[in-house]
């Protein structure tokens, strides 16, 4: 006989963990008890040592799905000889570290009930259990109990109450427990926000969808705008009403069979599609997929597909007989998803013909996550619903509670406590008032929920990011640390992989404020969390009109041509002669033309030179189209380029400069001879691969590190990421790419936190 006392911290409350422990202990013939305590659970078990070992092993290896164990400690205790195993009432002891569960897709058990005519929750759109359902989006305060969620207004019926209190029930302490007798209900509103009498809101909404109408549907983290994905007219109308340029729209399909009809996927992609997080997964679009061209226009070879993740979605997909539905967040572009009922009615008026809503309030808005698989591993694009606020491990623990504020676009923030980094959901473009307000509110909300009061603030070095402005607005006595943008990108990828040693950081990006005041974005850094050396960068060119140049790639083409001394014409650049004259003067006089080393802008220039669009409707569009063109074309020769040590008044060890003038001259010449854009696109990718390889090899020759991290928004480009990895691996570098957070600015806050922690420690 042995007795062990076990302390577990992590997401182990309200996720069916105690029933699981109960079952495990009884199955192994162990006696003792389990009880909730702040931040985790305490277990004491007694029995023969072999069973105790098995108990510990199984406890940590197969906990119920939303549970996540962050730490286990155990110690021997003298046996008491008590009979049986029991669940004890929660202990109200001192506060421990708090963890929160993300929202979890409807589990298989609940799905069976949903479609079982004999079940009392048959066709009930709000069923859930301790293993699934809303979490983060309905919590007002911690500890996580029903009265502190948006379910507080719904009094449990006797049936629900007895399930909730039965330790052997799947719904034991499932806070959002509900049934048709006591829980939330669907309602139907007109496009004007006024209630519509409906005996069956779900089937009325579905039949409107079937007639090609646009319906707003209140989901888990906000309102989606939906229409038939196969209906060209409906999709065009949705884009028109939403003023949504050309960004691809996501499609929800009923199940994996339907997903297969739209896109190709392998085992990893299947697992990602069906994971409890249920992200939108970018699949290779199947030729002849029954989806309107307008869903992802511009020759996009991929399609964003997701599976239903709430009972309401499952029922809706059934009602529309499985027809794939466009599901895009219900908001003007670049603003966070509409979530508040009054606000949604106002914002969606004029966009939706009908609004399918319900009376369970969303407390925290949360956009869908977006992800994909590259080389057999997940490569996140947006980490949001279903993933946040699961902590990510930091390589160096935070000495003090720390808040990292992220960037400007695709904003996320992160709270650090010890070795845990809690990254927020996606908050969008902070230039938008709605987004900024949501950002500021969410910071306060997460600080309260996780009980983290920051004693250090880390922000981007850029003086004009709204996140930097937010940092300035916090009390002046709170210490602030400004981190260079690309250093944070590099650290973000390092942190994910637990690297804490010098690395080569290849950060290819749109823009970031550099130490010299220039706009960086094509950087190869050497260093770690504590500091870095800018080992190489693209040659600076002018960015005529600043951010304007990002939306008008022809400007970057004009700028690169001028730098390379190659003549250009308005016709070639598809600009008016007057525009070109102004832009040339701006470049010549360096007027409103900040210097940049951005790879994103080089992509833009090459895209424009190759004959792709001279103007884009969202940042990065030209670069994506160049990637699509190049994908599937056989590898080809690279264009010429040069690498020089920057001379002059710089200190010794001045950075290498990657000179793209030969590349630009060659691209211009090829385009002039009428070379196919796809060939130019392919060769350009190969050129970037060679640039990186040559710089890394030269740096290794100078005893530089042999580990390389790839970060920055350009590495959303799968072709480039894959080829650089392959090339460097052949040269015996160890290459690391993002697996947990996006390579773009959505992952910035993690890097800031890692740097903040390391600097704070030293």
């Amino acid at each position: 006989m042995d007795r062990r006392a076990i302390e577990i911290i992590g997401i182990v409350q309200g996720v069916g963990f105690r029933p699981f422990v109960h079952e495990l202990a009884t199955g192994l013939g162990l006696s003792g008890f389990v009880k909730n305590r702040a931040g985790g659970v305490r277990i004491e078990v007694e029995g023969d040592p072999r069973s105790l070992d098995r108990f510990l092993a199984e406890l940590t290896s197969r906990p119920p799905s939303p549970a996540r164990i962050e730490g286990v400690r155990w110690a021997r205790r003298p046996p008491r000889g008590e009979p049986g195993f029991r669940i004890e009432p929660s202990a109200g002891d001192a506060a421990g570290p708090i963890f929160l569960a993300p929202d979890v897709a409807t589990c298989d058990d609940c799905l069976r009930e949903l479609f079982d005519p004999r079940d009392r929750r048959h066709r009930y759109p709000f069923l859930n259990c301790a293993h699934c359902g809303p979490r983060l989006t309905i919590i007002r305060e911690t500890p996580y109990d029903r009265e502190r969620t948006t379910m507080a207004a719904f009094a449990m019926c006797l049936d629900c109450r007895s399930e909730y209190e039965d330790p052997r029930d799947r719904r034991f302490h499932a806070q959002p427990i509900a049934c048709p007798a006591c829980g939330p209900r669907l309602r139907l509103l007109g496009g004007d926000g006024r209630a519509i009498e409906s005996g069956d809101p779900l089937s009325d909404a579905a039949s409107a969808l079937g007639r090609g109408r646009i319906v707003a549907v209140k989901g888990l983290g906000g309102y989606h705008l939906c229409c038939l994905a196969g209906d060209e007219g409906a999709v065009a109308e949705l884009r028109r009403r939403k003023h949504r340029d050309e960004k691809p729209l996501a499609v929800m399909v009923r199940d994996l069979r339907w997903a297969r009809a739209l896109g190709e996927f392998d085992e990893e992609e299947r697992a990602l599609l069906a994971s409890p997080c249920r992200p939108i997964v970018l699949l290779r679009r199947r030729p002849g997929a029954p989806v309107a061209v307008g869903v992802s226009p511009g020759g996009n070879p991929r399609l964003g597909v997701m599976l239903p993740y709430t009972p309401l979605h499952h029922l809706l997909m059934l009602e529309v007989a499985g027809a794939p539905l466009v599901m895009t967040s219900g908001n003007p572009s670049d603003e966070p998803i509409a979530y508040d009922d009054l606000d949604a009615a106002r914002r969606l008026a004029g966009i939706a013909d009908l609004i399918l809503t319900h009376d369970r309030p969303i407390h925290l808005r949360c956009d869908d996550s977006v992800s994909r698989v590259v080389d057999g591993a997940e490569s996140p694009i947006r980490r949001s619903r279903g993933s946040t606020p699961l902590p990510i491990d930091l390589p160096v623990p935070c000495p003090r509670p720390t808040l990292a504020l992220g960037g400007q676009l695709k904003a996320t923030f992160a709270l650090g406590r010890g070795r845990h980094a809690f990254l927020s959901h996606h908050l969008g473009d902070l230039d938008r008032y709605e987004a900024y307000r949501a950002y500021a509110e969410a910071i306060g909300h997460y600080e309260r929920l996780l009980a983290i009061r920051p004693a250090l603030i880390v922000h981007d070095l850029h003086p004009d990011y709204a996140s930097t402005g937010y940092a300035r607005g916090r009390p002046a006595e709170l210490p602030r640390l400004a981190v260079q943008h690309h250093h944070a990108h590099m650290a973000s990828c390092m942190a994910e992989h637990g690297l804490d040693e010098p690395v080569l950081g290849v950060t290819f990006d749109g823009s970031g404020y550099g130490l010299d005041g220039a706009t960086w974005g094509g950087e190869i850094l050497v260093g770690g969390y504590l500091g870095f050396r800018r080992a190489a960068h693209l040659r600076y060119v002018a960015m005529p009109g600043g951010d304007r140049a990002t939306l008008e790639p022809w400007r970057m083409a004009a700028s690169y041509l001028a730098d390379a001394g190659v003549g250009s014409s308005a016709i070639r650049l598809r600009a008016s002669p007057a525009e070109l004259a102004v832009v040339r003067t701006m470049i010549e006089r360096r007027f409103r033309s900040p210097p940049t080393s951005s790879v994103g802008r080089l992509f833009d220039a090459v895209a424009a030179l190759a004959g792709l669009r001279p103007r884009v409707s969202y940042e990065g569009q030209a670069a994506m189209e160049l990637e699509w063109l190049a994908t599937g074309v056989a590898a080809d020769a690279a264009y010429p380029f040069e690498i020089q040590q920057v001379q002059g008044d710089g200190p010794p060890g001045a950075p290498l400069q990657i000179d793209h003038r030969p590349l630009i001259a060659e691209v211009a010449a090829e385009a002039g001879r009428g070379r196919a854009p796809a060939v130019i696109a392919r060769r350009f990718h190969s050129t970037l691969v060679e640039m990186v390889a040559e710089v890394c090899l030269r740096l290794r020759g100078e005893s530089g590190p042999a580990k390389v991290v790839l970060s920055g928004g350009v590495f959303l480009n799968a072709l480039l990421a894959r080829e650089i990895t392959g090339r460097l691996t052949r040269e015996e570098f160890r290459v690391y790419r993002h697996r947990k957070v996006p390579p773009n600015d959505g992952g910035l806050s993690l890097g800031q936190l890692a740097i903040g922690a390391a600097r704070d420690r030293s």
Partner: protein, 335 residues
């Protein structure tokens, strides 16, 4: 020391260095002009006067619609009139660069004389210094204005209240774009002129029609966005502008697009912003429009209780953007 584009860097400098150094309430109010009371006594009431000073470093010295001399007169008296004062006297200091053509200086002085006459002020004191060649851009002028601040009249950027309307006296951005285009040799399709003008007459007409005006500002350097951000901060209120209602000449809009500028950030020299109680806004607008310098006046937004200290712009297609006070340098943010 960084560049002083009239943005946040300048505001920071003032707040961190100058205000504490001279620590007094009048300066700390950060109005465009200071209102002080001279000592009275012996049955003589203490008069209230307004003082303002401004330095002018414009390049080129002569530009379509004006020159540095006109600007130096208008800039200072406009700061006085938007505070509700009647400008009376002006003093001017000139820093001349060796080699400046006497002819040019003559033209500048004549232009100043005409501008003073037009605005009804008298230049009563002056000073000149000459610096070595290469140490100045031809000429720098600093002017100081003194005016009478009528009893009982108080216009202050701290007085805006939720519900108030924001009015602008005409098209924005004309001056800044005109200057840039001549200075940088950029030829836009239509030639633009600076809007520099003395605003005393317009302000008199406005105060006559609507004595309840809460505040006025001339949105010079830093443009409408800097002026309204200061107002929002000083009054602890929010400001929301309506995109479609802001008068901008098409050629200015076109130029801004080319240069990657927001018209809200571009300097004006003959325009003012006014904050009015909601019930007076229409009468005020009518009074402005019947004055030649206010023909294109418009109500462009309102003061709100939400987002204190912040200015937003509601777009025509929905969605609201933050109009921030930037650091003053052009730093791309799209990543």
């Amino acid at each position: 020391l960084g560049h002083g584009g009239g943005g946040r860097a300048t505001a920071d400098l003032i707040g961190r260095l100058f205000v504490p150094a001279f620590g007094n309430e009048v300066l700390a109010a950060l109005e465009d002009q200071a209102t002080v009371r001279l000592p009275g006594g012996d049955g003589v009431p203490a008069p209230r006067i307004a003082i303002s000073t401004d330095a002018f470093v414009v390049r080129p010295l002569f530009f379509p619609g004006g020159d540095i001399g006109r600007l130096a007169v208008h800039g200072t008296i406009n700061d006085l009139v938007v505070g509700g004062a009647e400008p009376l006297y002006l003093a001017a200091a000139f820093i001349l660069e060796e080699g400046l053509a006497l002819d040019d200086l003559g033209r500048i002085v004549a232009s100043m004389r005409d501008s003073c006459a037009e605005a009804g002020v008298i230049l009563v004191a002056g000073d000149t210094k000459v610096v070595d060649r290469g140490k100045g851009d031809g000429v720098y002028i600093t002017t100081t204005g003194v005016g009478l601040a009528p009893e009982g009249r108080s216009l202050s950027i701290r007085d805006a209240r939720p519900g108030d309307r924001i009015l602008v006296s005409g098209t924005i951005g004309d001056h800044g774009i005109a200057i840039m285009s001549v200075r940088e040799g950029i030829e836009f399709e239509t030639a633009l002129e600076s809007d520099t003008a003395p605003l005393g007459g317009l302000v008199r007409a406005m105060l006559g029609a609507c004595p309840g005006i809460r505040a006025m500002r001339d949105p010079t350097r830093g443009g409408v966005s800097a002026a309204l951000n200061e107002l929002a901060a000083a009054s602890r209120v929010g400001v929301t502008l309506l995109e479609g209602s802001i008068p901008v000449r098409p050629e200015v809009r076109g130029a801004c697009e080319m240069l990657g500028l927001d018209p809200l950030d571009v300097a004006n020299e003959g325009k003012l912003l006014a904050v009015s109680p909601p019930e007076d806004a229409d009468a005020l607008l009518a009074a402005m429009r019947s004055h030649p310098l206010g023909r294109d006046a418009a109500i462009i937004g309102r003061v709100v209780a939400e987002h204190p200290g912040m200015v937003t712009l509601r777009s025509v297609v929905g969605g609201e953007r933050i109009v921030s006070m930037l650091s003053g340098e052009q730093l791309p943010r799209i990543c």
